[in-house]
Amino acid sequence: MPRPFTPKIITANDLLEGDVIYYTADNSWTREMSQAELIEDEAEAQLRLIEAEKDALRVVGIYLTDAKAGANGPEPTHFREDFRRTGPSNYRHGKQEAAANV
């Protein structure tokens, strides 16, 4: 039996910076997972993925990944996506560095 569908977000890396980015409900890309569109329906997820892939010339490695609804928007369900949205654990580089500079 196929596994029940779990909510998804669309993520990728920015072509120029290499930074982790997420697809939003208004067909743009954000650096914050919390701003991503949480897709609750399987067929809709495939359609949104096709829409996102239109940006393949400036966005690399687009894929759907599991997420769950949180108080401030989508949150990761797997530790890999948690690291992607945060940055490495040995230095405060990546997104956590940007956050510290705000």
């Binding site: 120029l16 910076e17 290499g18 930074d19 530790f79 690291f83 040995n90 230095y91 997104k95």
Partner: protein
């Protein structure tokens, strides 16, 4: 050290010019990612978890002071002020921007460095004994052979799109410091009974998902035959290696499936065809290359300053006892600089530290540095009277950690903090083990113990050949760490044995502690190393310490 001739310089300029144009075409949308990816990988550019990563080759681990300074410049100008030295004698920059990479490659070319074939299914950076040219036990410097192989394999038309990557290592002594037996092909310089120098060829070693120890394919290949012989081996594998399954594509599987004898027979057949195509240009080139690696004129003079510091300064003495190795020249030592201060990321050096090491090499070390597969930096030739001054400078820059060969001298791959392939983190595990044993003040008591950590089954962290190996996996969405014991990366190479079920992230450091305390308990003498104890008593006492509850069940 090898200096580029006009051909080398022109080749690299052209190659960089091509890649610059490719990057431009990717950015303006003329190239898709599918088209661009093989091109960027050919030039060492990966896309990792958080950013691009540029892997720069340090051929056979040798750097000049100027090259090291240029690596520092790249770290500062285009990265976040540091670089990561890897287990294959490369340096990785974790944060370059795509548009900057062509400038980085041009800056590298200024000092005869490149990122060619540091990725992709080609012959990768040729690695060598990091003590080459300095070790007391070597027959001759293995680096000219490594440079010859580098030149032959660079852009070799037959070997640009193979079934999988191919890694070569070169060494020249009884002791194996280059993990020869974990390479697709290894060259060991030997002498036959007639006193002639030649090459023993090993094949089929490799770690990863199916670890294998390399086997001797040929006991003695003469100097004249070396390159055609290697070309024949790679060619045979390129033809017979499996392309239906990437996990079975490396030569270790080909050797395993066809058998060593069959590989030898096919190699001989191929060699008969290949040998006549080598007209002697390779030998002329080899002679030319050799001249570049002549030893410097080693200084003479007494060692009174060294002796005095050794007697009076316990911190210097502790460092000298762990970080120095015997040199072939009188009154000289090989200095290993630990870039593994307790709690730091194994293999990382800041731009400032790189410059300090470059300065020291220039002032005291005949301008030479080496990078080891163990992720440390080496000053290969140092007069012993200069050691106290070097140590004092290293101390000022967090580079004087006295831990070479000890429990905190850990090999760790970047793991899930950076790597897109990783299934778990490695770096924080290494940091915590080092910090824990430093707090316990047990490190020097424990003695020689190599811990090697990989964050996935591909084994960049060499966990299979660690005395204690740690493999990070994803078990149902949670990091889980398997332990192996009894691995050995030297001439007595062995693959470690799994202890049993893995440990959660917050259980792995205590588990390692239990293993080490068990060793301290059961070793026969203080001189018996962890590996010797393990070989004497086997797995049982360590298993009992790791899994006390399950042992009760069995009892």
């Amino acid at each position: 050290m090898y200096k580029y001739n006009d051909f080398d310089t022109a080749f690299l300029e052209e190659r960089n010019r091509q890649f610059r144009a490719q990057v431009e075409r990717r950015i303006d949308g003329s190239l898709t990612e599918d088209e661009f990816k093989p091109l960027r990988l050919m030039n060492g550019l990966y896309l990792q978890l958080h950013a691009y990563m540029l892997r720069v080759a340090i051929p056979y681990g040798t750097l000049s002071a100027n090259q090291m300074r240029q690596l520092a410049l790249l770290a500062e100008k285009w990265d976040k002020g540091y670089g990561h030295f890897t287990t294959r004698q490369n340096i990785q920059y974790n944060w370059p921007k795509l548009k900057d990479v062509p400038d980085m490659l041009d800056a590298l070319a200024e000092v005869n460095l490149h990122a060619i074939q540091t990725s992709g299914n080609t012959i990768r950076n040729v690695t060598a004994d990091h003590f080459a040219g300095a070790a007391a036990d070597e027959i001759e410097d293995p680096r000219p052979i490594a440079e010859l192989i580098r030149q032959w394999s660079t852009d070799h038309p037959e070997f640009q799109f193979m079934g999988r990557k191919f890694k070569i290592a070169v060494s020249a002594g009884e002791k194996d410091r280059a993990v020869l037996k974990a390479h697709d092909l290894a060259v060991r310089i030997v002498r036959n009974d007639a006193g002639e120098t030649g090459y023993q060829i090993l094949v089929g070693g490799g770690l990863g998902r199916t670890p294998m120890i390399g086997k001797v394919l040929n006991d003695f290949v003469s100097q004249d035959d070396l390159l055609p012989y290697i070309e024949s081996v790679v060619s045979v594998w390129n033809q017979h290696g499996r392309r239906d399954n990437k996990y079975k594509a490396r030569i270790k599987i080909t050797v395993h499936e066809l058998g060593l004898d069959k590989i030898r027979e096919l190699t001989e057949e191929r060699f008969a065809l290949v040998r006549p195509t080598f007209g002697g240009a390779d030998l002329a080139l080899f002679e030319e290359i050799k001249a570049h690696f002549a030893n410097p004129a080693f200084r003479s003079g007494g060692t009174d300053a060294y002796e005095a510091a050794y007697q009076t300064d316990p911190v210097f003495r502790a460092w000298a006892d762990t970080n120095l190795t015997a040199h072939k020249a009188a009154n000289h030592s090989i200095v290993t600089i630990s870039i593994k201060a307790h709690g730091q990321t194994p293999g990382d050096a800041t731009a400032e530290q790189m410059r300090v090491m470059a300065d020291l090499a220039e002032e005291y070390g005949y301008g030479e540095l080496r990078i080891s597969h163990e992720q440390n930096v080496i000053l290969p030739h140092v007069h012993q009277n200069d050691l106290p001054a070097i140590h004092a400078r290293l101390k000022e820059h967090g580079l004087a950690t006295a831990n070479i060969g000890l429990i905190s001298d850990i090999i760790a791959c970047p793991g899930m903090d950076y790597c897109a392939l990783a299934t778990a983190r490695s770096i924080p595990v290494a940091q915590e083990i080092a910090t824990r044993f430093d707090d316990l003040k047990l490190e020097h008591d424990v003695g020689h113990l190599q811990i090697k950590i990989s964050g996935c089954i591909n084994a960049c962290g060499h966990h299979h050949v660690g005395h204690i190996g740690i493999l990070g996996l994803d078990r149902a969405g949670v990091e889980n760490y398997q332990i192996t014991l009894g691995g050995d990366a030297t001439e007595t190479a062995a693959i470690g044995t799994r202890t049993g079920p893995g440990f959660a992230y917050d259980e792995i450091v205590p588990a390692v502690e239990r293993i080490v305390l068990t060793y301290l308990d059961i070793r026969e003498t203080e001189e018996e190393t962890f590996l010797e104890t393990y070989r004497r008593v086997g797995m049982d006492p360590f298993k009992a310490a790791l899994y006390p509850a399950s042992e009760k069940k069995v009892a």
